[in-house]
């Protein structure tokens, strides 16, 4: 293969995908970046260059800070919980417990159900008094509680739904990884008299580390883009208690029609995601070297 043909063939192979990416990702993203330094055009008033004004406005916008804070809590609430539950599910399903096919099915169903529809079902679960949660608590003498209607619990509810939605999906990755661990390792550890916990901590957990990283990064990215259920459950309320960054972007862009400010907010979101993606790229590339 000549050098020239290597370059030409390589480019020809990646060109179709690159063309679509350029058209539907890079160009719009660049346009968004440029927009963030201009004012929002309104009717006859065209956009004018405003420099960093949109970003300055952001710094003094309490709702932005609230959304950023909420998003941080949302990430802290969803990422470790999803990972832990996914791992637990995978271990259980891997252990050949009674009816594990059914278990696997049960854990995986949330991935298949459309969020926009199941959010309405969760709305019923969280409804005070006759909702499922309060009906169950009522059996034990619990008082009805406005789960979504009070600032203390609304964000937690939104987190629960997100964890429910994604844990089963991540389980599949852990399950695949667990089954690739050679059974001889378990036998050797058993011969040495290691307890099950030691075996998990010293053997399984390190071997699962690459999966954990992969799942971690995906969960972290999801933490910044799962907002479908907020449209149904809380509309970001009460008093912005469940407003996340992407939801706020939607609100500013498609309710307030302040596209310039929405572009600036989008840039913040993109930077957050870029950091996560950088972690992913770095870590996974390094892992590829391990092999």
């Amino acid at each position: 293969m000549t050098r020239l043909s290597r370059h030409v063939t390589g480019w020809l192979l990646v060109l179709p995908a690159m063309a679509f990416l350029a058209l539907f990702t890079h160009w719009p993203a660049l346009a968004t970046f440029i927009d963030s330094f201009w004012s929002t055009p309104k009717g006859r008033r065209p956009a004018r260059f405003v420099g960093a004004e949109n970003y300055q406005h952001m710094l003094s916008d309490p709702v932005f800070w609230k959304a950023a804070w909420n998003n941080l809590i949302f990430a802290i609430g969803t990422v470790p919980a999803s990972i832990a539950l996914a791992l637990l599910m995978a271990v259980w399903v891997n252990d050949r417990l009674t009816g594990r096919t059914l278990l696997r099915m049960a854990y995986f169903t949330p991935t298949i159900l459309p969020m926009i529809a199941v959010a309405n079902i969760w709305l019923f679960f969280f409804t005070p008094d006759y909702g499922l949660l309060d009906q169950l608590r009522g059996l034990f003498g619990g008082q009805p509680w406005p789960w979504l209607g009070s600032a203390e619990t609304a964000l937690a509810c939104v987190i629960v739904v997100a964890v429910w939605k994604e844990a089963g999906f991540f389980m599949i990755f852990y399950l695949a990884a667990l089954q690739q661990i050679s059974p001889t390792l378990g036998e050797a550890a058993a011969l040495e008299g290691a307890s099950r916990w030691t075996y998990f901590r010293r053997v399984q957990w390190p071997l699962l580390m690459p999966t954990t990283l992969f799942v971690f990064v995906n969960a972290a990215i999801n933490a910044f883009r799962m907002v479908d259920h907020i449209f149904v459950l809380t509309h970001g309320g009460p008093d912005n208690a469940t407003t996340l960054l992407l939801y706020y972007v939607y609100e500013v862009g498609f309710k307030f029609w302040d596209t310039a400010y929405a572009a600036a907010l989008t840039m913040v979101l993109l930077i957050a995601l870029a950091l996560i993606a950088a972690v992913q790229f770095g870590v996974i590339e390094r892992r590829a070297h391990y092999r």
């Binding site: 309104k42 709305l123 209607g149 009070s150 009460p238 208690a241 029609w257």
Partner: protein, 430 residues
């Protein structure tokens, strides 16, 4: 909408004068019409039938309804399309979106089309309460179509059990509180099994709150849409009354209560009285397993309720001939007979007084008097809260209300913060 199907022959249509047969059915001018309901369901069948009937009367014009989802989804679609240069010709959108649409330079006023005396009479025929949200700066930007207002629904069985006259809804704030106290039931452990009243506060609490503020004697926004009074003493008083129902008197469920589940709460006998839209009339009639009543909202200093719902708008970037055809369609669909039929079929308030004098409407009201409550409340109704940069200002108010309801801020403070934020947003529109 499918622009490819537009045919150049549109210009052949003389403005306003469409002789039948002059244009063949194949070359029909297509009027895209965004309507805020999702595809399917009984309402789309009604709209489809209107479009077909209009085409029968006007062979040159084909109205093509496009069902775009909720109001929010519809305005997103309409403005996104407007920004990329191909808006619908006409659309039904929230009456409160008027300032937003004007500021985006998306719509044109109806005044340009109103030429004959008959047209002028038509424009005057709508209830003034509805026109308040359709006019600003001396021009008419929207035509009322599917309008609603807030009313009180009560469970007559619960009234009987509480020793109240099941035929007498509360007339004043004091009575409303008194009834709610009698209607609130607790079990042996002190847990509430039935609340006296619910005024929902999720999503768009400002709308129901406006009922309370109007009754307290406050008007929240001026007609130019650039001045608000959210921290007036009457407004704080109204908010205090609402909060006291839950926190002090414990006759209203605590926290932010969900709009979407409120009718269900009512059917489940969890609440004995509820405030919600007249648009729920059919829903309640079909699903309440007990006799219920519908009443005007109780009076504070006065009676009062905001109006709500959707208006017709005509989009600026469409062709003049299309705009004229859309205007003719809007005139056609708001005749007294059709306005009456639309109100009967959907539960929206018929938008003009003479619609209520049609035989069909008289029959309907005779059989179902509750339907007339909204009409009787209209003289007390005020414009729905609407300003420039409407949704942003509204959010400031909503956030303040929810902060007060959840106890994060005292009412006066919450309203003061909302006022500061609203005026900051509106300073560009002075």
């Amino acid at each position: 909408m499918d622009r490819r199907q537009f045919i150049g022959g549109a210009s052949a249509l003389a403005v306003g004068a469409m002789a039948p047969g002059a244009v063949s059915a194949q070359a029909a001018q297509e009027i895209s019409f965004f309507y805020p309901v999702a595809v399917g369901g009984p309402i789309t069948k009604l709209i489809d039938a209107y479009a077909a009937d209009f085409q029968k009367d006007n062979p040159g014009v084909a109205v093509k309804p496009i069902y775009a989802g909720s109001y929010q989804e519809t305005i997103v679609k309409a403005l996104t399309a407007h920004k990329s240069g191909t808006p619908p010709v006409t659309s039904v959108l929230l009456s409160t979106d008027m300032f937003t649409l004007i500021d985006e330079d998306a719509i044109i006023p109806f005044d340009e089309f109103v030429k004959t005396d008959a047209d002028k009479a038509w424009l005057k025929s709508f209830y003034p309460a509805f026109m308040e949200n359709s006019q600003t700066g001396g021009k008419t930007w929207g035509i009322p179509f599917q309008r609603s207002t807030v009313v009180l629904y009560w469970n007559k069985e619960a009234f009987k059990e509480a020793g109240l006259d099941p035929e007498k809804p509360p007339q004043t704030w004091a009575e409303q509180l008194d009834f709610a106290q009698k209607l609130t039931k607790r079990d042996a452990a002190g847990n509430v099994t039935q609340w006296g009243i619910q005024i929902p506060s999720s999503g768009f609490p400002y709308w129901l709150f406006q009922g309370l503020t109007t009754q307290a004697g406050a008007i929240l926004a001026n007609a130019a849409g650039n001045e608000v009074k959210l921290d007036a003493p009457e407004v704080v008083e109204a908010l205090q009354y609402w909060i006291d129902l839950a926190q002090k008197h414990k006759v209203h469920p605590p926290g932010v209560t969900e709009w979407g589940t409120t009718p269900k709460d009512f059917f489940e006998r969890k609440i004995a009285m509820m405030w919600t839209t007249t648009g729920n009339l059919t829903n309640v009639r079909n699903n309440a397993k007990f006799p219920f009543g519908v009443a005007m909202l109780p009076a504070g200093k006065r009676r009062g309720s905001p109006t709500g719902g959707g208006n017709f708008y005509i989009f600026k970037k469409s062709k003049p001939a299309e705009q004229q055809a859309a205007f003719n369609f809007i005139k056609w669909i708001t005749t007294p007979e059709r306005a009456a039929r639309w109100g009967i079929d959907t539960g929206y308030v018929a938008v003009r007084a003479d619609a209520w004098d049609t035989p069909a409407m008289k029959d309907y009201v005779a059989g179902f008097p509750a339907a007339a409550v909204a009409r009787d409340q209209l003289p007390h109704a005020v414009a729905e809260f609407s300003t420039h940069d409407n949704q942003r200002v509204t959010k400031a108010l909503n956030d303040g209300l929810q902060a007060a309801i959840t106890g994060a801020k005292p009412p006066a403070q919450a309203m003061k913060d909302a006022q500061t934020e609203a005026m900051r947003i509106l300073k560009d529109y002075k």
